[in-house]
């Protein structure tokens, strides 16, 4: 049988839910950011799959995926800078230990 649109959509749904599980259940802040990267990759697969199967004349899906990759890089950069600054001041990267607002 041919590989159709639904194959890619099911795969990206599974990848998205794995990323969601990482985001909800891990303690290390960097691991949460890794889960976010998995979710963004799943969304990108969806965009490019829709571009090929539903709207192939304009390359909007692929341009959107490129923009999402760029923004994911920015967000990873700023997020990891925040994790490093938090580690320097609070001396922990485990998010369940960062539970007081006033230092």
């Amino acid at each position: 049988m041919q590989v159709g649109l639904t194959h890619y959509l099911v795969l990206s749904a599974l990848l998205f839910c794995l990323g969601l599980y990482a985001m909800l259940s891990r303690r290390n802040a960097v691991a949460i950011l890794m889960g976010i990267e998995l979710m963004l990759n799943a969304a990108n697969i969806n965009l490019v799959a829709f571009n090929k199967y539903v709207a192939p004349t304009a390359l909007n899906g692929q341009v959107f995926a490129l923009v999402v990759i760029t923004l994911a890089a920015c967000e990873a950069g700023v997020g990891l800078a925040l994790v490093m600054a938090a580690y320097r001041n609070l001396e922990t990267v485990h998010v369940d230990e960062i539970n007081i607002m006033k230092w």
Binding site: Y8, L11, L18, L24, R26, A81, M84
Partner: protein
């Protein structure tokens, strides 16, 4: 037939590596297992005839974001390699939530009647993307570069050591 075989192999690589990323107890191992995940996603882009996006994915995700994550792990306490418990007390609820969302999404995706188009993609998508970015979508291009500039400055300022 070949495409189906490639799809199955790539999805096995991607999903197994993603499971290692989200469940490994050693954070360096889970960060390094992001690389096969991203390479699997690159394979999917190549199957979907988006070769420029595939090249950018390897260059940025597997080459730069993974390195950034590894750097931050080594500069914060994960670099000692100690075996601290990496999961918090929300594990049963999060398994339930992710499984429920997965079931919902998959059932919607399988049942929805997607309008499949008959045309084919242009042969060289790299030049097509370049033209689209500089004619129809030039505003997207400019705003993205502005966001990159702001993120660059912000990350440098936040991560600086206070003197």
């Amino acid at each position: 037939m070949g495409e189906l075989a490639a799809f199955i192999i790539l999805s096995a690589i991607t999903l197994v590596s993603a499971v290692v990323v989200v469940t490994s107890g050693n954070i360096v191992r889970s960060a390094l297992s992001l690389v096969p995940t991203f390479l699997g996603v690159t394979g999917f882009y190549i199957l979907l005839q988006a070769e420029f996006v595939a090249g950018i994915q390897v260059l940025i995700y597997a080459g730069a974001i993974t390195v950034l994550i590894l750097f931050v792990i080594m500069l914060t306490e994960g670099g000692t390699g100690l075996r601290v418990p990496q999961i918090n007390e929300q594990v049963p609820m999060s398994i339930l939530a992710s499984a429920a969302l997965a079931l919902l999404l998959i059932s919607v995706f399988i049942r929805a009647p997607w309008p499949t188009a008959k045309e084919a993609l242009p042969q060289y998508t790299a030049s097509g993307i370049g033209e689209a970015l500089l004619t129809n979508l030039v505003l997207v291009f400019e705003v993205t570069s502005l966001v990159l500039l702001v993120a660059l400055m912000g990350a440098i300022i936040i991560a600086r050591r206070e003197h």
